[in-house]
């Protein structure tokens, strides 16, 4: 069901990454991977088609290995709920170059739109904050999205967490590459690492 006051997921991701520069981006499985593809294929994209609950931890591993580059995790509320403990792990490590963005449509859109916990009780901003990610906020307007997209480049001020309530209406699927060896080899290649 489309609601007028909720943001369009494709516009949100496109705006966040409009001036991404050298940023490394991890997309959680499901619709956020399609949003990432719709914003434009990129060698520094790491798109997941499985491993539900692992997006933030993959982002943390990248962020610790590449402390001078901005690392951005974009995932959904269902994926984030499954890996909620990883927010505490990030809160403890405090990687200043890591940003986590949840596109929260309050449902499991890929499986038929069943409601998720964020529709009724789970406040992911509150969870992130209480796990030690002090810069945790909700983004509610495209103006805020645009400003937040620029702030991703500041690798000294993270970790950051942002929750964006988005329209749960289905949008066209834009498929990204799904061959893991292609994705990781290209990603590592963009960072200057040759295959073994």
């Amino acid at each position: 069901m489309s609601k007028a006051n909720l943001l369009d997921r494709r516009a949100v991701v496109k705006t966040l990454l409009a001036d991404r520069k050298d940023a490394l981006v991890v997309g959680g499985l499901g619709a956020t991977t399609y949003d990432l593809a719709a914003a434009g294929d990129h060698a520094r994209n790491f798109s997941l088609w499985g491993a539900m609950g692992g997006a933030v931890m993959i982002g943390l591993g990248v962020a610790l290995a590449q402390p001078k580059l901005p690392v951005v995790v974009i995932t959904g509320d269902g994926e984030m709920l499954m890996g909620m403990g990883s927010l505490a792990t990030v809160g403890l490590q405090k990687p200043t170059n890591l940003t986590i963005i949840v596109l929260d449509n309050e449902c499991y859109g890929e499986t038929g739109g069943q409601v998720s916990h964020t529709a009724a009780v789970a406040d992911l901003v509150g969870v992130a904050k209480s796990c030690g990610i002090e810069d945790s906020r909700s983004l509610e307007t495209m103006g805020e999205i645009e400003a937040f997209g620029k702030s991703l480049q500041d690798i000294s001020a993270g970790p950051r967490f942002a929750n964006v309530k988005i329209d749960s209406a289905d949008v066209e699927r834009v498929l990204s590459n799904r061959d893991g060896m292609f994705i990781i080899t290209r990603f590592r290649g963009a960072l200057g690492f040759a295959p073994i």
Partner: protein
Amino acid sequence: MHARADASSEQGANWPDDIFAILQRFDVRQVPYVPDAGHSQLINRVLASSTMRGIPLTTEEEGVALLAGAWAGGQRGVLLMQSSGVGNCINMLSLTQIFRFPFLTLVTMRGEWGEFNPWQVPMGSSTQGIFELSGVRVLRATHPGEVREVMEAAASQAYNACTATALLLSQRLIGTKVFVK
């Protein structure tokens, strides 16, 4: 607090230091872990290291995903856990087949060799089978004197051949946990 039976005074009794030295030589940088008494000496060495980063987890599967990200970003890692944590990793272990990254985990075993706690036995009994079904090669060290050699083999095949590997450190090696005196 639970005391542990003295492991051994035979050759290799300082096997956690042998493991640490090998990890250092393979330039391992990220060391995610869920604590286990059998890993305590190694964890202390990691936390005191200037080149390795010890990363406490809330659940073991986080470590599998972390190591995939570490490799994507150009670093090697190793996951430390006990056998009861292996079940928590199953779905995330698919990453080792999808990305064929250098995955190495060191698993301290429970539920074997004179276990006191029956709750440790089911998972301890299926640890090796779960790894094998998940496409992870399993090596095992049972005696202090063989840890260095087995660890060397595990690290070599994981880091040089990108072959996902689990090294099981047997309960006989780490010593049976003592609950009552």
